[in-house]
């Protein structure tokens, strides 16, 4: 009845059996190797490079200069702290807009209505569309001369704006685009949260005669707290890393008015070719994000409010 014990085992079979016995270590191995090769090792290289002066264009050899890059960033480079500020400004501004708009939309859509699935589907578009492409579309729409946005402003009687070409208007413009991009995501997550809320407190409030505003602040918000905290933190960190939109629409300009830290790192590395300096900036950003992640992790571990 087929193979039985006692058949001579070929070398191949024995190899397979050894593999099979050790899958506990062998299965995760490729993933681990990739992680080490693409994560850990590059970090070491990054760390080393951040301590060097190295220009990719000039013929000068790479020289070890210790913490000079960091000193330069912190104390000499006039744009560095500006870049940090711009990064925070963007992240928080976009977050606020996404949250308020997202929450409002979630509350509004938290009911059953005809066409619900169509609406949900349409609202997915900004999230799934290729960001570069949509940023390009926005860039075109924002064009002061030929873009449609200034036309629309004129239609409602408002003066035209230079949008991304203006040093003052560029950041709010970019924030607006990011809000457009990610609010649906925020809304979906919050909506899922709202749908998961228990009905009882609401019914009790209705019987007790609470007003809508009271219900919102005293019941909805507290019950939504875990979701809100989670999604806010995730989006905040994400917003700190936004690159595509800014890169395509303003490129960091005009005159570095929208050059967030991300953009600055890119430009230093690949435009100005100050690789060592760029790596130092990158290390700084990495540590900042690491610190925030740790804080998030600790917070989540500690606080499940109920």
């Amino acid at each position: 009845m087929g193979r039985r014990d006692g058949d001579p085992e070929s070398f191949f079979t024995r190899v397979l059996e050894t593999f099979d016995r050790n899958i506990r270590f062998l299965f995760p191995l490729p993933a681990l190797i990739i992680a080490l090769a693409l994560f850990v090792y590059p970090l070491l290289e990054l760390f080393y490079l951040s301590l060097t002066r190295w220009s990719l264009v000039s013929q000068e050899p790479r020289t070890f200069i210790g913490l000079t890059n960091f000193a330069r960033a912190f104390f000499q480079d006039e744009h560095f702290w500006r870049a940090v500020w711009l990064m925070l400004y963007f992240a928080l501004g976009a977050l606020a807009g996404q949250f308020i708009l997202g929450f409002a939309l979630a509350m509004m859509l938290n009911r059953e209505f005809r066409g619900e699935s169509v609406v949900r589907m349409l609202l997915l578009f900004p999230i799934i569309a290729t960001p570069v492409a949509m940023s390009m579309v926005w860039a075109m729409m924002l064009n002061p001369m030929m873009g449609i946005l200034n036309y629309l402003l004129a239609v409602v009687g408002l003066p035209p704006s230079d949008w991304a070409s203006s040093p003052t208007a560029v950041m709010p413009t970019l924030i607006m685009v990011d809000i457009w991009h990610w609010t649906p995501f925020m809304m979906l997550v919050l909506l899922a949260g709202l749908k998961n809320l228990p009905k009882d407190p609401y019914e009790a409030a209705m019987i007790d005669g609470a007003s809508r505003i009271q219900v919102f602040f005293k019941i909805t918000l507290p019950l939504m707290q875990p979701y809100i905290v989670l999604v806010v933190i995730l989006r905040l960190i994400h917003n700190l890393k936004v690159f595509d939109e800014i890169f395509v629409i303003s490129g960091g300009g005009p005159m570095r008015a929208s050059e967030t830290l991300n953009l600055m790192i890119y430009h230093q590395a690949f435009t100005a070719m100050n690789y060592g300096y760029a790596c130092a900036l990158g290390l700084f950003l990495l540590l900042v994000i690491l610190a925030i992640s740790l804080a998030v992790f600790r917070y989540r571990e500690r606080s499940w409010s109920y």
Binding site: D20, L49, A129, M136, V137, M141, K241
Partner: protein, 274 residues
């Protein structure tokens, strides 16, 4: 009609107006770009913008013949297929083992990789890849994508693997299956749903990613997002063809996600499986 009835109607109208306004706000750029892609140069530039015009496909023709585009399309497709396949091959076994032998430190590592700023990793990658001859190659691009996708996939798949009852594997072992055999024949088919969900999101990510190919690819392996950006940066195309390009690059991913909408929505919902 009672006051309450009137209130209800007003509320409903208000709701629908708000609904339509929001939808309009989010959909508007898509409508605009599609219209633009069909306009000839004269119609494209006219201000106030024309809503009625005779559509033309010239813009699309121009994009296709812009040399790079087809190559970029091919590259994007190849990279996506390779990445998704490699991702499953590497991540599924890893997730399976982690699910069966739980490790706590993993959660943080995975969390961190979801939060890591990729520009920072690109700096050493660029140097290392160039050194190893991986610059401007498919493998290089695939590897860069995997760095993000593997932790993500492992994290998402953990819950699915945990839900597969151990007894089924044990029954398979007793029936004569090897551990690997049981994994492939029993466990993997049972997490199919998870695989599709994760792969849908992986597709989205890989197709759309810009910053990795921006730095790591050159002429040969440039993907669509980079090519499209080049069109814009080089001023090589006007609004019309640019719009056509934007439509062409976005269309596949929108169609794909809409087809797999169920899996996508499930994937977005904050994976309550932590």
């Amino acid at each position: 009609m009672s006051v309450y009835g009137l209130k209800k109607i007003t509320a409903k109208t208000f709701f629908w107006i708000a609904c339509l306004l929001s939808i309009f706000f989010f959909i508007f750029p898509f409508l605009w770009v599609v219209l633009m892609s069909l306009k000839d140069p004269e119609a494209a530039q006219s201000m106030p913008p024309k809503l009625i015009f005779s559509p033309t496909f010239d813009n699309y023709k121009q994009v296709f013949s812009a040399g790079d585009f087809l190559n970029a399309f091919k590259n994007s497709t190849v990279v996506v297929i390779l990445t998704l396949t490699a991702n499953l091959i590497v991540s599924l076994p890893a997730a399976y083992i982690i699910a069966r032998w739980r490790q706590k430190w993993l959660s943080f590592t995975i969390l961190f990789t979801q939060m890591a700023p990729w520009i920072v990793f690109l700096l050493p990658w660029y140097i290392i890849f160039k050194r190893l001859g991986l610059y401007d190659t498919y493998i290089g691009l695939v590897l860069s994508n995997l760095t993000y996708l593997i932790p993500f996939t492992v994290w998402r798949m953990l819950g699915f693997f945990e839900d597969v009852p151990k007894e089924i594997e044990e029954a398979a072992w007793l029936d004569g299956c090897t551990h690997t055999g049981a994994f492939i024949r029993m466990v993997v088919p049972l997490v199919k749903g998870g695989i599709i969900t994760v792969s849908t999101l992986a597709f989205l990510f890989t197709w759309n990613i810009f910053i990795f190919p921006l730095v790591l690819s050159g002429y040969r392996s440039k993907t669509l997002p980079v090519t499209v950006y080049n069109f814009l940066a080089d001023n090589s195309l006007d609004f019309g063809p640019l719009s056509a390009a934007a439509v062409l690059i976005t269309l596949p991913v929108i169609v794909f996600i809409l087809i797999n909408q169920k899996y996508f929505s499930r994937g977005i919902a904050l994976g309550g499986r932590k």
